[in-house]
Structure formats: C-alpha cells, structure tokens
Subunit: 318 residues, 4 copies
C-alpha cells in the first residue's frame, strides 16, 4: 500500500516522533482530538508568541469577547489621556465631578475612535486635537486589523470529520478486521479522501518493553467522493501485525491506532487534514457496526442517519 | 487509463457510494447540477449548522437582501432599547407620539451604527451613552464581518462549465462512441483540464437487478488548454462495458454517466472541480454534434459559437 | 521527456485546439503576451458577463478611476432623490436656486454615504431620513465591496517573466539548437520552474498544407531556483522535428513555438503560469546570446544585467 | 533518493545557478537566512518596483510606521489645499495667524478623512465642499487599501524553522555522518516535511579550481509530522562525495551545504518553503548533538527543550 504522503527512502518505523517515542512507554502520542501530546519549552518568548495563530484558533465567542475587551481598553487608554490633559481637553460639557469628567472623556473617545463624531463633545484645545488625530488613526487601523483577522478565520479550511466513538474488532470474511466509521459533519462536500492508519504496539524486545510502528493495509484507502459514511477497514490477515491476536494479546500489546485523513474541501478547493487516534480502551473486541442507512425509505434519496454512526452490536469472534 | 485522482488499492467498483448504492435500484446518485442525491439526518443541529457555508453559497441578490435585512434588524433592536430607556435617551427631539419616538430612535440608531453622527440627535443620558458605545462597536464589527464574507464569496473558485444538453451515441470510426460536448462559460481560462467518466449500469445478476460500476476509457482525457469546446468521447470498443449494445440494451440497462472534471482556473491558479451526469432520458441514440466553429470566417481569430453547443443531427447507427 | 502537466493517454498532437486548428492555416494560436487568439460568441450575455474578472484584470489606474466614477455616480443618484423630495428634504440650508439645491443635496449625500455627518446639513423629514438610512447602508456596503475587490487584486498571483525579444537558432555542440532566454522581472523568488516548448509546423501532406504539432525535448526543463536568467535550449538533433532544417526550410514551414512556464511564487507559495510564443519573424537564424553576467566584477555577489537579456551576436551556422 | 521537487531530465549539476556559479569561485550562493547572494540590475525601474512585495515583506513596526506616516502626509496634502483656498474654506473658526489657520485646516482634514465630522469645523464654500468630497473618497479608499494589505500580510505563509547554529561531522554507525538539527519555532504544526541537502565542493580539475554540485543521500528525508525536533543526517558512506574525507580534506574542499525544506502548514494547509546553508566555518568536525529531550520527566507528555537545539559535545572521530 502506498502512503497518502509522498515518501522517498522513509524509515517505515518513523513518522515524526523518532527514537524517543519508542522508549517513552505508554505515553499517548496523538490525542483523540488530533493534537500532539508534546510539550515544547526553551523557546524565546517572542519567537514562540504567535498572537496571530492564537487569534485564529480560539472559538468565535472568545474571539468576539477579546475584540470587545480590546475596544473598551483602547477607549479607556484615550480616556485617561483626555483626563490628564484636563477639563479643557473636551469642550461642550460641564463636568463638575471626576466621574462626570470620566464619563464625558470616555464617550468622547468612543465617538472619536468609532468616527461617529456627534459634535456635542468637541476637542477643546491643540493637544486634544492632536490626540483626536491619533485616535482616529488607531480607530481606522483597528477596523482594518479586525477585518483582516475575521477573514483569515473565515477562510481557514475547516473540515469536521466525526469518528465513531469506538473502533471495533469485527468478523471480516473468514477472519477479523479492525474497523471504525467516519462521517462528514459539514454540509459542504469532501473529495479525494485519503486515509492512512498507523499502529503502535508495545512489544517485549530483548526483555525490554519497546514500541514498534506499523503502517496498516486498508481494504479501501481512497474515496473519490464522501457524501455518505465510510467504514475504514484493516483486514487482520497474515500481512497484519495483529495476525492471530487474541483479545488477551490485544490488551497486552496496548495498541494505539493513529488515523490520518486528507481530502479536498469543495468550498475553497483546499486540502484539509484530520488526525485522530484509538487506544485500547476505545476499542471493542467482538462487535460490528449497525447500518447507518435508512433502508426502509424507498424515496428518491439515499438517506443516512448520522446519530447512528457509533452504534454497534456485540458479536462473538471465532 | 489512470484515474484523475491518485488512487492506491482502490476498489474499482466503489467511488464513495459503497454497497448501498448498488442495492438501492433506480435512484439517481448525482443530479445534473452536480449535487449528490443524498439526505443526511441525525446530525446535532449546531454541528451541521454552517451559517458560513450558507452565506457563501446563496446567490448575490439573496446575500445582499439578507445583509440589508440584518442591517434593519440590528437598528430595530437598538431602537427598542432606546425606546425602553425613554424619551430622555435621545436629546434634540421633541417626540409627542409613539411613532415620533420610534422614528427618532430608529434614525438615531442608524446615525450611530453607521457612524454618521450628524449631531442633531444626541445620546441624552448615561445609559444611552453606554448603548451608543455598544452600538458603535457592533456597527464596526458588522462592517468587518460583511467585508470578510464578501471577499470569501469573491475568492471562491467559480468555474462554470456548460455541458451539452444531451449526450449522444454517435458513429465513431468503424463503430460507435458515447460523446458529449462542453465549453467554458467564463471569460477566464482553464488549464490542465482532466475528465473522468463513470458509468452505472443496471444488470440482472443471479436473477436480481444490481448496479455495476464502470470507469470508461476516453479518447482524450486531458487538455493542456481549454480555449474552445471539448467533445469528450468514450469509444464503444471491445473494452467498453457498452460493447455491442443495441438501443434496446441501452434502455434496459438504464445507464447513468457521471462526469467529473478538474482544471486550473488561471485567475487565482486554483483547482476547480465540476460534476454532472447524464441519464438515459438525456441521451440521444444515433446523432452527431454539429460544428461549433464559424468556418466561413477567414479572419485572424478562430471563432466558436457557443449557442450551438447542444446542436446535433440525427444519424442512423449501423 | 515528461510533460510538465500530468497526462494520461493524451493525444500528442492535441493540446486544446483540436482538429480545427490544424486546418485553419496561418492563424497564430497564442499571442506573444500569452493570450489566446480565439473569439467566442453565442454565450448568453449574463452568463459571460463576469464583472468580477473584469475588475480583477484591468490596470490599477483604470480600477481606481472606475471606483471614483462609481462613487460620484452613487452620490448623484441619491442627490436626485433628495431633490425630488424637495427643499424640505435637507434642513440647514437656504437654497434659492436649482444649482444651490443641487450642490447642497450632493454634499449632503457625500457627507451621508461617507458617514462624515458634519451636521450642518441634516435630514429634514421622514422620507429623507429613510433615504439616509438606505444611503448609509449602501455606503458601508460599498466600502466592503471595494475592500474585497482590492484584496482580490492584491492576492492574485502575479509572476512577470520577461522573454528575450528574439529566439535564436544557435550553434550547439556539433549541431544547432533553438534557444531563448528568460528572466524574472519581480523581486520575489520563483521556485520549481518547469518549462515546456511546443512547436507547430506547416507541412504539405497529401498536397494540402496542414499543421503538425510537436513537443520539443529540452536540454534542461526544470530549475529548482530561478535567481538568475535561464536560457531554454532545444537541441536540434535527430529526434527533433527541425532536424537538418536549412534557413529556407525554417521560413517555408512557418514554425510557431509555444512556451509554457510553471513555477511557485515564494510570496504566497502559489503556482504561477506564463505563456508566450515565437513566430518565424521573431526568430534569428544564426545568432548566439551575449553573456548577461557582469564577469568583470569580483565582488561577493553574482551579478546579472537584465538590460542585456535580448542581446545577441550574429554567427554563421555550419 | 528522489528529489523533493519533481524533475524530468534535469542536469544533476545545475539547480538554478548554472555554469557561472561553477566558475565564480568562493562566492557563497545562498546566505544563512535563505536569501540568494545575487545582484540583479538593468531592470527598468518601474518594472522591478514592487511596492506590494515591499509592503508585504517589511516588519510589522515598519509597516505601521509607514501607514501612520502616510496618514499624516495625506492630511497635510489636503491641509495645504484648504489653506490655498483661503480662510473661507472652513467655517466655524476664527484663525488670525498662519499657524492657527494651519491647525484648523489640518484638524478639519483629519475629521474629514477619518469621517468623524464633529461639525464645529465645516466646509465653508463650494470649492472646499468639492475637496471634502474628494478627501472622503480618498479616506475610504485608504481604509480599503490598508485592510487589503493587512490581510495579505496576515495570510502569508510564515513557517519559521530554527536551524542548529552548527552542522556536525559526527560518528555514525561504523563511520561518520554530516548532521544538523531543526525545530519548528511556531506553535502551529507542520506536516509532510521534505528535506533536501545539496553540497558544493571546490575541486582541482585540470589544475583549475572548480565547483562540483552534489545531491546528498539522507537517512530520512521525509517526516509525516514534525511535533518535536528533527536531526537530518547524511551518512558519509561509499556513495557520499565526502567518503574518506579527513578534517584537512574538508577544509581544503571548502564545502557548502544548501538545505531546502518543504512542508505543509496546518493553519492554512499551504506549502511553506525554507532554505538555509552551512559553510565550513559553521561545521564542527568531531561532535555530536546533546539530547533535546527532557528524559527525567515521566509525565504524560513528551517534552523537548528547544534552547538545547544547538548544544553539542566534542568527540574524537575514528
């Protein structure tokens, strides 16, 4: 089987974790959500500080909250400058207390930075006129920055593949197979879907527990289209590293399955990647998936019920 | 023939519809406009809700109407807040009736959210000043969101290939061929055009009607450039699943032809994909396309008349 | 030699112009600027109308002029509405003549659509308040559209390869070669440059002049980097369709060379494509390029003088 | 080993520098930061002038400074126009001195171009009303341009690979190897990382010093993921051009190693490219890298300390 990634003389046992991963036993390498279970330190703070990636990756509510917070902060900053300049900074009001001055300064700042400019509050002297010039520029620039960030967030490829909660060891032809099921959670289409499944096993080599890496053969590793669900199947035949494994063998070897999917999103025709993993605790030995199709419906459309994605029934394996 | 998509050990009979499609007889899988004839349900509402893809896919008139509707709605929302605050919320007016108050509140809201700020209507107290602060922020953010959406719509790859209304079974060399004709409806150029045609036939297997899937050989499956029209031809020779089919055989096997095209759009150098299909009712048995070229013109340019794309004349097949 | 484009069972004689091009003698197929010498008609006006591609492809001065024109037009449109409403539409002015009313309406419209809102001119009644609401929305939307268009223009891949004015038939090893020279006119880098040269010859076949298509072998068809110039060379050896051609043969066969280049622009890591062509009138029989390098400079940098790109000296071919 | 770049009949000795680079001895071709050590002249000023690439490539502080400078300049330009029109250009002020007029004109310009429009300063006559129309348009357009530029900067692929300060000649199996170490400085992930190492040696050929180009075999040239560090290793075996080189041979042949890396950035799923180089002065003969892993930690995560990227200890080579 060919890798979904172009390889040259790649070491089959290595897909980016190297020697250390083989020795650090029982550490999950890829979390179920596809993130890496890796900690990086020692980076210069400013080199690693990637405000941009942070602002792209946080959720929408957090993003809008942060922007709103920034808007208030910016106005408070200019408010304090107008207050330092004094009561004459802003004409058109008659503030006798600190809080009245604060309120008028703050609302004048809002009317300036947002470029509303009602005109009942006005810059009162030369210095506040200069501050208004700066604030209007900062206001315009902020709108530009927020627009840029918004579009960057909107144009990020955002495939969302749902994986079945469990992977199964199921009967398959005359033997067994490892299988799991996926579905596209988005309404947009995915094309040219490629799947790759890698396996890490704990083995006793020279009396020492070591990890071994295996790339698994799949029944089908490519789909031209993905309008329905896909059950990805690794047949446990004589070529499989899991050949003749009993349930006990499975538990002892503590297998981890790493899944890599690659497809083309048809909204922007961009490649999208998804990772996930199954550890032994998420694998059901002796089960098969129930149908996801609504077979009773004889209408014009093929119909699937995605809520049944993870449904399986227990079976006895020979 | 190689697939236009990189395949590994792909099952020739499967291009994403799987077993179920083989059993659900007589259901069209891909509609003429390229959409899938598939219904998906059971998805959590919020997971499948993709407002973004919706706003990208609707037509321009609908998009602008929705935005205008949103603009009015947002202003009505803030109008109602100003009205709840009461007559003192906005100074500069003298509203004696509900509708006068409503009108003044609404126009004050418009002048605030759009950041016009004429200044004859002014925030009249602390609470309305705070609401103005919020509204100015919402206004600025809305402009940013609309700008982001607009650009996302503009930068979407938008190939538009026109397919001839009918596919034809035409005389071809000493035998027959399945053929249809396409043209680029846009003024921009397409490069590196790849075509793939798949066929689904109804066959009686073991006394039961079943679907079989076939990938068809094409006379030419790749064009470097696409400045003119392209007649895509599947020769019905001894390698074809349609070999020796009579018109009666065609009708009985209820063939569906699925066409997948892939090319590079030269405006943004992005890959663009197009799908379409022909069912038997759209296939003319015994016809050939009329020329699309203006041959009588001896000028400097090669000239085609796209309105003749679907023109054919009936012929008798041997 | 492999094509720069993935091909399957492609007809070597066809790269998108088909049979018709072989028969329409002496028509240039690709112009020197890379555009196709093709006329398309019969398209429904609204289908082919691609305002978007038009706005992306015009020059910057034209683009800005069009936007300015649109800005004035939009304001004139709203001006006329305010004038139709009458003198009471706008309060704060005392216009006694048509032109005074026109000027005040126009400047009020500008102050509204640009969201300046000075406040000396104000909406004077309900209807003009509604028009102001619409105009503020149109103004905000226009800014969004212009921003989207601007960014679409800015993010368009814009490679600019300069081709030597002439292609040369030069001495090469023991024989001759067809060659031309290119350089990158931009300061950004191009990577993974692939070149392909196709040749069309007029031949007398069966007493009738016909075009034949040939893909030419190149000495080097790929560059990893392109920091300097590149002389693309087709050796005229026994595999070449031009083998043993005398100058007279060249003139009689009226050769056209079509050049296709593909590379990766390192600003956005996008593929960029360039086309060009040489007809016989642009080919010098018996000449070689002068060096483009500043060899006299022994400094730290390799230096080329791009103004010498097209310089050649005449030589006698054996 | 296959190149990371698709090659056809590429001359192994040539990767874009051609013959001249072989003759211009001892000139570094690629700088450590990946830029080319090449000077290009003779280009028409306006052809090479690429303000856009300039504005994309400068640092963020320079970018914002330039924009602020442009904002002030634009306002000064319109200020001068209002001053030329005279005192009646702007109503609402009572400027008795040049500087008062200047200040009022400047702040009126700011309030116009930023679309604040407080309203205490107003256009005073027809001409200044027309100038206000132009300035409002220029202001809106500037925001659009700045937004476009900002997003173009934000969406630029921006991989940042840190290379170990030195490359090492280390013990490797029974022999030696050339190696260096890299790490991803960004928090985002890189996929499908491909590495290519090319070597340029000075050799005495026919009594004349000449450069020879070599592509080096790598122990591993592809990583599926890159969450940790990667030590790229060229084993100096019998296939290596450095086979049996003593430290003296290394110094005499003045080797330059050019590194090209290509990967997929998972934020935008874009290809990113990185270049770097090592000259002899940056190579330690007889050393090996210290571990970058925090082995003492038995926690849940694999931990690396990037500050140790360049740490090595001296060893004696056999």
């Amino acid at each position: 089987m060919k890798s979904i990634f172009k390889t040259s003389n790649r070491n089959e046992k290595d897909f980016g974790f190297g020697k250390i991963a083989s020795e650090e036993n029982r550490v999950r390498l890829i979390n179920r959500d596809g993130s890496f279970n890796v900690e990086r330190k020692g980076l210069n703070f400013f080199t690693s500080l990637s405000l941009y990636h942070f602002l792209l990756d946080i959720s929408w509510p957090k993003f809008f909250s942060l922007i709103a917070f920034g808007y208030v902060l910016m106005n408070l900053f200019f408010t304090s400058i107008y207050m330092v300049i004094g009561i004459s900074a802003i004409s058109g009001h008659d503030s006798s207390s600190f809080w009245e001055l604060f309120a008028n300064s703050f609302f004048f700042s809002v009317q300036t930075s947002s470029t509303i400019g009602f005109g009942h509050l006005l810059p009162g002297n030369l210095i506040s006129n200069i501050v208004v010039t700066v604030e209007s520029f900062v206001g315009l620039l902020s709108v530009a920055v927020i627009t840029g960030l918004l579009f960057a967030r909107l144009s990020k490829p955002n495939a969302k593949i749902i994986f079945s909660k469990n992977a199964l060891i199921s009967p398959y032809k005359d033997a067994k197979a490892f299988m799991f099921r996926i579905v596209n959670a988005r309404e947009n289409q995915l094309f040219e879907l490629d799947g790759e499944v890698n396996l890490i096993l704990q083995k006793i080599i020279d009396g020492k527990s070591q990890r071994t890496f295996h790339k698994l053969d799949l029944e089908i590793s490519h789909l031209t289209f993905f309008p329905l669900s896909w059950t990805i199947v690794h047949p446990i035949d004589s070529h499989s590293p899991l050949y003749n494994f009993s349930e006990k063998d499975f538990i002892e070897s503590d297998p981890e399955f790493y899944i890599f999917l690659k497809g083309v999103d048809d909204t922007f025709n961009q490649y999208v990647y998804t990772r996930s993993s199954y550890k032994m605790s998420e694998i059901i030995y002796g089960a098969k998936f129930e149908s996801i199709f609504d077979l009773h419906k004889a209408g014009e459309k093929i119909s699937i019920d995605i809520s049944r994605l993870s449904h399986f029934k227990k079976v006895t394996l020979s």
